[in-house]
């Protein structure tokens, strides 16, 4: 065998907040939106030009559509960050008004920079310095503009701060899946400058970045690199040898240090270990990687999380409580047609059956009982308008009989996003433009009293009492599209009252009584073919001549804007004397309230409190964690959301977060760890395997090895292997000591564990026993350094005089040294070893299929190819 020759290199550095270093990311939006997407409640995002671009041709604009507590924002997921390194995020913002001119940059899960006051309609640069915790982060551009207007952004940049290098003379890194923290690094370096010494103070929660390279000469093995990030937990200066030694840990270290500084215990309102872990990590500024491994503790009581005060929140069985407001002179209906949404199979639908005769507000509302002086939060979780207009969600505080005030008005994005195309415009010329007259009389272009411009149509009934009309066919329509007729109509002469019905053949019409002043009589319909005939039918029961002017007739094709999302109004205090919060969902203006206009809403929620939970009602499906119920008749009473709770989910004063979490995680036979990149995982240990196979063998890479089977206990009485485990829990409630036992296995070789916490249910003993069982036979191996070696990776070892052993890597320690003999080596510890024949499946070449074995060949005959 050729002599393996390698070069092992270790480098360490310490991130610094200043100064900014190399450019990591830039975006000027000149090509597209650069992967930025509109955040929740930000309904429009586009690339404006002109003054909304700072440099070049384009910028990025977000259009406000949110209530207090929700700022218009855009987000982008960006990868390539180095956990631990500092980055400076800068962007230029331009605010539309002077009310709240600010620009805020942020990173999801980490935080936001200071709000930068901008010059109204001017560009101001905002900056946010943050420390990456993952390789992928979601960036945020935020503003607190309070009106519906474009907030523009341009010239984004992120700079990566160059870390300061440490001159490492000795290093080791241990990764151990049976130990917390999972990773530990020890670095020795000459005493650096005072500036660096301050940087590596453990009290600053400083990160030390370690980068390892393994280069093999003559292609013995592919070259390897691996990066690690550790939190410095210990710094020791040796003034005799002039060295400093740092010990760093993976992020579990946070939970070892932080805990509950309170005189009273805090209950985590959940029975889910995953849920509790997420909540605890959030307290430490950490996030848990998504996953499904979980354990539910036995519930012993519930806590009320929220009550949905809307008694008929999804219109499933009736329209009770939903009230239509048709506008002045207008009419409307409320129905609950079948429309499947995440909130049920029906929605509350407002339908305009007659348009208002004057500009007015139309829509539907729902009343919720409130108590003066308390804060409330509201949401419509699904809204849909088939039309366009100044769509709003607002809360009106009321007494039983009268209004008090309106707050939190949210402008929804349908208007801003709609696209309107004129398909027909009445010409301002001396022509009747193919309009046909029917009845006794005529149509003619007239210069008498036009609404706008020079000409209008004079539509004349010359005599009699019969109705008269004009009509015109419009082509170029699209079946299924919504069209709006708008116009200006008035009487010029004639006795009696004249009424017009504006419509399209086959679609009915909108009626309006005319006067000597112009009015707009809008009407909408959905086309069924590529053409439609517009009609104006006039009537007047008084006999004689009548002249009516028709002007500014326009047929517009409507493509509604975005009409999905959540409309939220959060944290408004009910004023004195208020007993009702009226939840309005409405549009304003006559043109928006044309006949046929529908407004759907669904998933209403109103809660007493300063935050808004995810929608629920009494029919929401219960989970192990959550219990939902109606307080009375289903769909006709308030709903409660209760959280199932276990007493073990209690953090006692002075407990570290790890003290708390470890107990419930063990009860679930789970494992929580943060890897060397700071990624937190909650996994079921037996099911969690790292891809790859580590081979350690004689004649190839094994330098030392021992094989241990031992029944000798440690000086503390802890066995290395056991056939049974007993865990004794003791805890105090109201001065009374409680005791419970969790038992697994047999008593031949017993392991006893004591825990001073509430009993979380059985499970931990079985998990410990499984771990003990895997340690019946252990190999400690020393091999040439292989940077791919990782705990939970499959292991195969070949030692002299021993059958091939296969199992799992439990721990690995890498060594580097400027002078020491361990340089370029690693220690590997195993678990779950079994004797394995050479022909075993696990030892076959990658990609070798069962079918590749010749038919009729037995395993003893088989030879590995």
């Amino acid at each position: 065998m050729a002599t393996p020759k390698s070069i092992s290199v270790i480098a360490a550095s310490v991130p610094v907040a200043t100064p900014a270093g190399s450019v990591f990311y830039t975006e000027g939006f000149e090509v597209d939106t650069g992967g930025w997407v509109a955040g929740a409640l930000t309904y429009l995002m586009n690339r404006p030009t002109g003054s909304l671009a700072r440099t070049g041709t384009y910028g990025l604009a977000t259009y406000r559509n949110a209530s207090v507590g929700n700022l218009p924002f855009a987000t982008k997921s960006l990868s390539g960050f180095t956990p631990g390194l500092y980055y400076t995020f800068t962007a230029w913002g331009r605010q539309p008004n002077s009310a709240d001119p600010s620009a805020v940059l942020g990173v999801e899960g980490i935080g936001h920079g200071a709000s930068v006051t901008t010059t109204t309609l001017g560009w101001t640069q905002a900056t946010y310095v943050f420390q990456a915790t993952k390789t992928t982060h979601v960036l945020e551009l935020r503003s607190n503009a309070v009106i519906s207007a474009n907030v523009a952004w341009d010239d984004l940049a992120i700079f990566e701060h160059d870390p300061i290098d440490l001159q490492v003379t000795e290093a080791s890194i241990t990764l151990d899946d049976s130990h917390a923290p999972y990773g530990v690094v020890t670095l020795t370096a000459p005493i650096p400058s005072e500036e660096i010494l301050e940087l590596i103070d453990p009290r600053t929660r400083q990160v030390v970045l370690v980068s390892a390279e393994q280069e093999w000469i003559e292609d013995y093995k592919a070259d390897q690199t691996r990066d690690f990030a550790f939190r410095i937990g210990d710094r020791e200066i040796d003034h005799v040898n002039k060295t400093v030694t740092l010990t760093g840990y993976t992020n579990e270290f946070f939970l070892f240090q932080a805990g509950l500084a309170s005189a009273t215990a805090v209950e985590i309102a959940t029975v889910s270990v995953r849920d509790a872990t997420q909540q605890i990590l959030a307290l430490a500024g950490q996030t848990l990687e998504p996953g499904t491994d979980d354990h539910v503790l036995p519930t012993d009581h519930q806590t009320l999380a929220a009550t949905n005060l809307v008694t008929n929140p999804s219109s499933e069985t009736a329209t009770t409580g939903y009230v239509a407001v048709g506008g002045t002179g207008g009419t409307a209906t409320i129905t609950n047609p079948v429309v499947t949404t995440p909130y049920g199979t029906r929605v509350s639908r407002y339908t305009q059956t007659a348009s208002p005769t004057t500009a007015s507000t139309t829509g539907q509302y729902y009343d919720v009982a409130v108590t003066a002086g308390l804060p409330y939060s509201f949401a419509i979780n699904k809204w849909d308008l088939n039309f366009y207009g100044g769509l709003q969600f607002a809360i009106e505080w009321r007494t039983a009989a009268a209004t008090i005030s309106t707050v939190g008005t949210v402008s929804l994005g349908n208007t801003a996003g709609s696209v309107n195309v004129n398909k027909y415009t009445q010409p301002d010329t001396n022509s009747t433009d193919s309009w046909a007259f029917s009845g006794t009389g005529s149509i003619a272009a007239t210069t008498t009293s036009p609404h706008t411009g020079t000409y209008a149509y004079a539509v004349t009934r010359s005599s009699g009492t019969a109705n008269w009309s004009i009509s015109r066919t419009i082509t170029g329509l699209t079946a299924g599209k919504t069209y709006l007729i708008s116009d200006q109509i008035r009487t010029i002469s004639g006795a009696g009252t004249t009424t017009v019905v504006v419509g399209a053949t086959g679609f009915g019409g909108a009626t309006q009584t005319l006067s000597a002043s112009y009015v707009n009589r809008p009407f909408s319909f959905v086309a069924t073919s590529t053409s439609a005939t517009l009609t104006y039918t006039f009537s007047n029961v008084t006999s004689g001549a009548v002249v009516v002017n028709v002007d500014q007739t326009v047929l517009t094709e409507i493509t509604p804007g975005p009409n999905v999302g959540v409309a939220e109004i959060i944290n408004f205090v009910a004023p004195a004397t208020a007993t009702v919060a009226r939840m309005h969902y409405r549009v304003s203006g006559t043109s928006s309230a044309a006949i046929g206009m529908t407004m759907d809403m669904d998933g209403l929620i109103a809660v007493q409190g300063t935050t808004l939970p995810t929608y629920f009602d009494g029919s929401t499906t219960d989970t192990a964690v959550n219990d939902y119920a109606w307080t009375g008749t289903a769909h006709a009473s308030t709903s409660t959301w209760k959280k199932n709770v276990a007493s073990a989910m209690t953090i006692n004063p002075g407990d570290t977060y790890w003290d708390f979490l470890d107990t419930v995680i063990q009860a679930g036979a789970l494992r929580l760890f943060a890897d060397e990149q700071g990624v937190w995982r909650l996994v079921e240990p037996a099911g969690y395997l790292v891809p790859g196979l580590l081979n350690v063998g004689e004649t190839t890479n094994a330098v030392e090895g021992n094989d241990i089977i031992s029944l000798v206990r440690s000086s503390e009485g802890v066995p290395q292997w056991a056939t049974g485990v007993v865990i004794k829990y003791t805890w105090i409630v109201a001065g009374v000591t409680n005791t419970a036992y969790d038992v697994a296995g047999t008593g031949d070789v017993i392991a006893r564990i004591e825990v001073e916490r509430p009993f979380p249910g059985a499970g931990a003993a079985a998990a410990y026993l499984k771990r003990y069982t895997g340690r019946g036979r252990v190999q400690n191996l020393t091999a040439l350094l292989d940077l791919e070696a990782t705990p939970s990776m499959a292991l195969s070892s070949t030692m002299p005089g021993t059958p091939i052993q296969t199992g799992v890597v439990s721990a690995v320690t890498f060594y580097w040294s400027a002078d020491g003999d361990e340089h370029g080596l690693m220690d590997v510890r195993s678990r779950g070893l079994t004797d394995t024949p050479e022909t075993a499946w696990v030892l076959q070449p990658v990609g070798y299929a069962w079918d590749d074995v010749p038919v009729g060949m037995s395993w003893p005959e088989y030879v590995t190819p």
């Binding site: 020759k5 070069i7 004689e698 004649t699 190839t700 890479n701 094994a702 330098v703 040439l784 340089h823």
Partner: protein, 118 residues
């Protein structure tokens, strides 16, 4: 044709340099492989030069000043126009000795162990 040694602020000019020796220690590690007569080699660069230097001064005050300079714990720079290959940055690594020349009885030797630093 001069050899100077400086510490950044003071410069000493040696009358003569004698007895220069330098060694570099190899740092490669040989790992024996189980079941094989071969070694795995972990390659590492050798250490920087270290050795012993003997420098002559004709003035005892200058010699004494140089000895003190060596003893201050500063990094020194040796610059020889005659033997540029011995130029180096170094620190004192062991003893520094001031010795009267036996023959001339008026020249002074400064003898010291050094370790190259850069």
């Amino acid at each position: 044709m001069t050899t100077t040694i400086s510490n950044g602020s003071d410069v000493w000019t040696a009358t003569q340099v004698d007895g220069y020796s330098a060694t570099r220690t190899g740092r490669n590690v040989l790992h024996p492989i189980i079941g094989s007569n071969a070694f795995a080699v972990a390659l590492r660069p050798s250490s920087l030069r270290k050795g012993n230097l003997k420098v002559l001064f004709t003035d005892v005050d200058i010699a004494q000043g140089f000895l003190d300079g060596l003893s201050n714990g500063d990094e020194m720079t040796l610059d020889s126009t005659d033997r540029p290959n011995i130029n180096m940055q170094f620190v004192l690594d062991g003893d520094a000795e001031l010795e009267l020349d036996d023959e001339a009885r008026r020249n002074w030797w400064v003898i010291f162990d050094w370790q190259e630093t850069d």
